[in-house]
Symmetry: C2
Subunit: 341 residues, 2 copies
DNA sequence: TTGTAAGCGTTATCAC
DNA sequence: GTGATAACGCTTACAA
């Protein structure tokens, strides 16, 4: 079923059908009705490929996700679902491209094959080859996370630096003097992964400002690793009374290690972090945390991209999100406060 | 940059360029070289929309995921990544469509707009409106999970019935006499969600065969719910010595409730199930379980779909996966064995 | 071994 | 208010 067939059945020309559908030209009420009736009758929809060819746009965006090998964290996975939902609200479809390395096949198909009108890039690194490629191709794109250098493109990001600093200050305000940061994996930090970098910066800066004794460590995105890291940390630095973390996958293990060491939260030990709301609520006791607003992030990214696709001329824009700290039940003054006792 | 421009630069006709690329017609080595050189030089790629229009196929498959509202379980999310990876191996792109209800916009775009050459349908229910719609459209599709009725289409599925039965038998072999099933949410069971249904059937059948005392309950996909369900279960039925579950999200809570009740696993209580490998390994102690083979599932689904897309005539095929039970550390004979003591 | 030309199903520019 | 008709960029008979 194509537009020609609809035209025939409605007794009009193909262009009239097209215009009746798009509204880009006035069509008399009676013919419009007739056309719409026929369309409804046979369940016609314009062929997407033909339309894309004629219009020069696909009404589709690409979402570049980390390749399947490196297991996606639940938060990233949730982001995918949220991006698709947000795109749907803009009448946009989403094609997925798992690409991390240099020239990935599906990434190249998307970009040079003009399969999409714009791209959302997850997990950008400093010196990101894909961002450079997109820049060169002229395809609009927005990155999730920004890089330290002069980023010419759009991005939306979480203010990990400020958020982690806020966590540190909260702990300091409660009287903690020795705290630790449980960061994302070492490899992420080394490769210049923004959140890991900025979390560390924010942690160090705030801790210095409050003259705290600190220990920053990296931890694989695994509950088992979280348990091991925490165990070792507590053994080596028994005076530490609080942990701030951005590693949600490590949380269950962290909880376990704390319990095993005989520390109850929050009475004897405080935990705070920047993690997805779901993870915070699963923690025991519920974790005081800056809940990472995944669907906001997705919504804003898609919005920014859509804007850029319709107005390619406009200057690049950035969005930095700073969600509030949700006070739950995992933080309290340390067992032996600074003064008194 | 289009095929005409390449042809001009290489001094040949457009068709020769096309054939040099597709290999569907012999092209002399010298011209082929010249063409490929030009292409490489300017980084040309055929426009996907034009190609799709001409060929009558998009080289894209659709993946219908549960809508974002109902949070996707980690296992489902992982499946998405695996499908995309598998599709990539077939040179296929993947567009996502979050659709659950009747006529979803993006689903309709995909199907009637002929945006895709085939569809993978997650989480089919008995009487699935989307499956019916696909059937009607003639678009090849394969469902993940099959429905009780006479399913005319392709599907790949896990043998939950046999797997859960195997778990029951394992427990019975160890000497357990009173066990419980912790199933997926009640709403899933009510709506005819295959895995939940068949898990229950397998549980009841095997338990009857071994004359066990049983208790089957549904549990929301949440750690907190898992804790509550297990707590109530243990309180109401203190003689139960083992749990089999297919609800991985409940696992952390289940573990917690068991510990709180003073039961150590596996010495005093056994747990076994059908869950993702990752979840099984995160359990404490590592869970004896049939590991659901998500990437196998994805691989087979894509393979089946690809086959059906190239040979639409062939009869529908089904794939039923039965992964082995991985013996880990969460099962043992019950504290008070049948005889002796 | 290569070129010419007719589609593919739309949208959009002319005319009327 | 409506109808021809030329793009859009590619594939693929059909000729040569």
């Amino acid at each position: 079923m194509n537009i020609g067939e609809i035209a025939r059945r409605a007794g009009v020309s193909r262009s009239t059908v097209s215009y009746a559908l798009s509204g880009k030209r006035a069509v008399s009420e009676v013919t419009r009705r007739r056309i719409l009736e026929v369309i409804d009758d046979v369940g016609y929809r314009p062929n997407a490929s033909a339309r894309a060819l004629a219009e020069g746009r696909t009404r589709t965006i690409g979402l570049v996700i980390p390749p399947a090998g490196r297991r996606l964290s639940p938060i990233q996975l949730g982001f995918v679902a949220d991006v698709v939902a947000a795109a749907g609200r803009h009448e946009l479809d989403v094609v997925l491209s798992p690409s991390g390395g240099e020239h990935d096949r599906s990434f190249e198909r998307m970009v040079s094959g003009r399969r999409v009108d714009g791209v959302i890039l997850m997990e950008v690194r400093v010196q990101d080859a894909r961002a450079a490629r997109l820049e060169r191709s002229g395809l609009p794109f927005v990155a999730i996370g920004h890089t330290a250098g002069a980023a010419p493109g759009c991005w939306v990001d979480l203010d990990y630096e400020g958020l982690v600093a806020r966590c540190v200050h909260h702990l300091a305000d409660l009287g903690h003097q020795a705290i630790a940061l449980v960061n994302r994996p070492q490899a992420f930090l080394d490769s210049g992964y923004g959140p890991a970098r900025r979390a560390l910066d924010g942690f160090n800066a705030a801790a210095a400002a409050r003259s705290l004794t600190v220990r920053a460590l990296c931890c694989p995105d695994e509950a088992t690793a979280g348990e091991a890291c925490t165990r070792d940390l507590l053994a080596a630095h028994p005076r530490i009374t609080g942990i701030v973390t951005i590693n949600e996958a490590a949380l269950p293990g962290l909880e376990r290690a704390l319990r095993r060491s005989g520390r109850t939260v929050p009475r004897q030990f405080s935990v705070i972090g920047v993690v997805g709301r779901h993870w915070a609520e699963q923690f025991h006791p519920p974790l005081t945390a800056a809940d990472v607003p995944i669907s906001d992030l997705a919504e804003r990214a898609v919005g920014l991209l859509a804007e850029r696709m319709t107005h390619p001329g406009t200057p690049a824009r950035h969005v930095m999100l700073t969600p509030p700290l949700s006070l739950r039940a995992s933080t309290a003054p340390p067992p032996r406060p600074r003064t008194g006792s």
